[in-house]
């Protein structure tokens, strides 16, 4: 038996896979061997080519060159249907579920078992029951997707991937949208699948997940594989070094805070969405100068709306927001420009939609929102030279590369785009900084730089409100942490008392400590 296992052909073998999109070489000579029945991790920064590689393996993209073997057989995949036929299933980072259809319809899609749905429905119900029995993946077949929480939606994606008896399961960043508790449940399911002989490929950029669950790990950087390791023989520090190509501090030493007077005060805030759903209810907190106030929560629990209300981008129904003594109420709103003039800076969650105009050049983006200032021209005209000089200064101060003010914003990497936004917003020496997802889609090296900047601002006396979906980022930077769930605050903790488990419980909607 033992011999059989070691001599068995690898579940997947990729040899010299290359894939380019126009001039971008997403995968270069990638070779990968995945042993059957293992959980194999693939780590790398955003844009390292992990997702591209998996989409090649799933037949969604066709490789430009290279060879692929599944269970020892050379294969050519022309479409996802070919991959499914070979027993490969994939759970995408963005869920591929039709939200106005039922669970049953979504699971059936693509394997309806005949031109009429009737017999297929019965069969699919049996499959759902079998999977619930085997792996504990219970779902309500008649529920409509839109009504289900993210964790259950992901479960449905996994069911879709393995319902036909897939032997290889690819998961692309599966934990990004989950609470820590939901992530643990996912890992239990993956282990159960592994026990049943399924080979799991797990793409992630979270090193602790790799250490916790995988048997082996491959590291990608700039489209190439830069190392294969057995998980038990490696460490997070080594993996981070491989990912970035140099030593990285995984956590920044933040020192102690010196909170001063209250600069931002939110009281009993309530807000409904344009569709009439209550997105914020009874939110109250304050942020002092010289502290970072973090808001933890799974994406979509009201954090986005809270930031928008404070930045003046969203109307609200009740309560008030006091910024540096100026009070904003539903009856006396302020525009984003008026709020900015109070020296409140805003680094929006979605930099592509609200932070930058991607088709404008860097120097145009460097003054957005501040373009009325007398520094950049007078009357109706912009002083192009002054704008360029300003942009050059921002770029050198904040290490934005390439340092070319005439380059369009879309041509910078995610990390450098974010550095440009942060440079613009913090250069004015704000009293209050509202920041959403500061390191989303940013590479590990730039994350360290951005974290240092936020801490430097804090130490200079700025009051910082930080929203992030990355729990580690919240814990690593914040002096106090508020947890949100379903538009409500579940409690405010000092960061010294806030462990992952405790925060995770609160993020799942179980309140504890009363608001101090």
């Amino acid at each position: 038996m033992q011999d059989d296992k070691t001599s068995a052909a690898p579940a997947i073998e990729l040899i010299d896979i290359c894939k380019s999109f126009g001039p971008v070489r997403a995968n270069r000579d990638v070779s990968l061997r995945v042993e059957p029945g293992t959980i194999h991790g693939i780590v790398g920064e955003n844009g390292a080519g992990k997702s591209t590689l998996m989409n090649v393996l799933y037949g969604h993209y066709q490789a430009d060159s290279g060879e692929m073997r599944v269970a020892g057989q050379a294969v050519i995949l022309r479409s996802s249907a070919d991959a499914i036929g070979l027993g490969i299933g994939m759970v995408h980072q963005h869920f591929m579920l039709v939200s106005n259809m039922t669970v049953l319809e979504n699971v059936m899609l693509g394997s309806e078992g005949g031109p009429l749905l009737r017999s297929g429905k019965r069969e699919t119900l049996n499959t759902l029951k079998r999977l619930a029995d085997d792996y504990g993946m219970e779902v309500d077949a008649d529920a409509v997707i839109a009504d289900l929480p993210v964790g259950i939606r992901q479960r449905i994606e996994i069911i879709k991937a393995i319902k036909g008896g897939a032997r290889i399961l690819i998961l692309d960043e599966p934990t990004g949208v989950l609470t820590p508790g939901e992530a643990d449940k996912l890992f239990e399911v993956l282990r159960a699948l592994q026990r049943n002989g399924v080979t799991v490929l797990l793409i992630t950029h979270k090193l602790d997940e790799i250490m916790a669950i995988t048997d082996a790990v491959s590291v990608m950087r700039h489209g190439e594989i830069v190392g294969h390791r057995r998980t038990q023989d490696t460490s997070p520090a080594e993996l981070a070094r491989l990912m970035v190509g140099r030593d990285v501090l995984l956590s920044v030493d933040r020192g102690s805070a010196n909170p001063g007077e209250v600069l931002l005060q939110v009281s009993e805030l309530a807000c409904t969405s344009s569709r009439g759903r209550q997105v914020l209810s009874d939110i109250s907190f304050d942020v002092r100068s010289g502290e970072i106030f973090g808001i933890a929560g799974v994406s979509g629990n009201g954090q986005t709306e809270l930031l928008e209300v404070i930045a003046g981008m969203r109307k609200f129904e009740a309560g008030s927001v006091a910024l540096l003594g100026e009070t904003i109420t539903p009856g006396a709103p302020k525009t984003p420009a008026q709020i900015r003039d109070l020296r409140v800076a805003h680094i929006p969650e979605d930099r592509h939609q609200f932070g930058l105009i991607l088709s404008f050049d860097a120097k145009g983006n460097a003054i957005l929102g501040y373009h009325q200032s007398a520094d950049y021209g007078s009357g109706y005209f912009l002083d192009e030279d002054a704008v360029a000089t300003h942009c050059n200064k921002l770029m050198s101060d904040h290490d934005v590369r390439p340092g070319n003010p005439a380059l369009a914003a879309r041509n910078f990497s995610g990390g450098n785009q974010q550095k440009l936004v942060i440079a613009r917003e913090t250069d004015t020496d704000p009293k209050i900084l509202i920041v959403g997802q500061p390191t989303r889609g940013v590479d590990v090296g730039a994350i360290e730089f951005i974290h240092r900047q936020l801490l430097a601002l804090r130490d200079a006396g700025c009051a910082i409100l930080l929203v992030s979906a990355e729990l580690d980022e919240i814990i690593g930077l914040s002096d106090r942490i508020m947890v949100m769930n379903g538009g409500r605050q579940m409690g405010i903790l000092d960061s010294a008392d806030a462990g992952r488990d405790r925060l995770g419980t609160m993020m799942a909607g179980i309140a504890e400590a009363a608001t101090p």
Partner: protein, 323 residues
């Protein structure tokens, strides 16, 4: 008096069916295209082309059925052109639809003049070149029975075959959408094409099948206009019915039965505006002619301005699918 009003009302309902038939066929056509994610403002152009081809072929060949088949074929060709632009080449769906409407408008008149030299019209069609009303059984026997007799004679019997086809196509569309593999995939592809693709189903081929069905239904609607309701083709005879059908699709929330009701409502308003003029309406009295004439348009504007109900279009509508 089985009162003047009641009888006029019955005739109005009868006219409603006749006016609504091309709307129903076109609207079912629109459901297929739009549910698959392809906006189709070229229902109008296809309807016009279908009407022209049906009348022309019927006039030249003497066969109304051959006319209808050729009408369907011509509309499928237009649908494929729309598909080629929007699906294969990911073009703008509104622009492509607009182009087809202009093509149909110009081509029907030009070819019509070249063939018949009657200012773009076809010659009047004879009885064998038209779909004639179908008389049902026992019409005369039932005539003696009050209420049921007239309703049976006027409303149920004595329509041409295409009216019944249109009515049957509603449940057929509903069954196709909700009870078949094709329907499940069609609904999914208009919402999340990525889901269909990752399930190993071709988005392109699925959408092509949807627009082909759209062409098929539009062809029937066109044949109805010129060889059943009318007796020949008149230039621009579609007169915005394709757009009204599209409005009915939106108003009916892309679902067959509500869309049917919307078509009947639009049909009723149009029929009422001509039939109920100068008639005493109980409780209201005689409505001013001008108001009755304006009513369909007022209602259309009100309905489409979204004062009644809220519509949620397929999520991926109008967006070309790119891997």
């Amino acid at each position: 008096m089985m009162s003047e009003f009641a009888f006029q009302f019955l005739l109005t309902l009868d006219a409603t069916l006749r006016v609504a038939t091309p709307l129903i066929l076109c609207a079912m056509a629109g459901i297929f295209s739009e549910r698959s994610g392809i906006i189709d403002i070229s229902l109008e152009g296809k309807l016009l082309m279908g009407a022209f081809v049906a009348a022309t072929v019927a006039s030249l060949s003497g066969s109304v059925w051959l006319g209808a088949i050729c009408a369907i074929a011509s509309c499928v060709v237009l649908a494929l052109i729309h598909g080629f632009a929007c699906i294969t080449h990911r073009g703008n769906q509104v622009v492509s639809g607009l182009a087809i409407n202009m093509l149909a408008s110009g081509l029907t008149v030009t070819v019509g003049i070249a063939l018949f030299r009657q200012g773009g019209q076809t010659p009047p069609l004879g009885n064998t070149e038209r779909f004639r009303p179908v008389e049902w059984w026992f019409v005369d026997a039932l005539d003696a029975i009050p209420v049921i007799g007239p309703i049976y004679r006027e409303l149920i019997s004595n329509h041409n075959i295409l009216v019944y086809v249109a009515l049957v196509m509603v449940p057929v569309t509903a069954l196709l959408l909700y009870k078949t593999r094709f329907g499940l995939r069609l609904r999914a592809v208009g919402e999340v094409p990525e889901a269909v693709d990752s399930a190993g189903v071709s988005v392109t081929w699925l959408r092509y099948r949807a627009v082909i069905l759209t062409g098929l239904f539009c062809g029937l609607a066109g044949a109805y206009l010129s060889t059943a309701q009318g007796a020949g083709f008149v230039r621009e005879m579609s007169a915005g019915k394709g757009y009204i059908a599209l409005a009915a699709v939106i108003f009916g929330n892309w679902r067959p039965v509500p869309v049917l009701l919307a078509c009947l409502l639009f049909g009723f308003l149009e029929a009422a505006s001509t039939r109920l003029q100068g008639i005493d309406i109980p409780l209201i009295g005689e409505a001013p002619t001008q108001l009755m004439l304006a009513l369909p348009y007022i209602m259309t504007v009100l309905l489409l301005a979204g004062f009644v109900g809220k519509s949620t279009p397929p999520t991926a509508i109008g967006e070309p699918y790119q891997k």
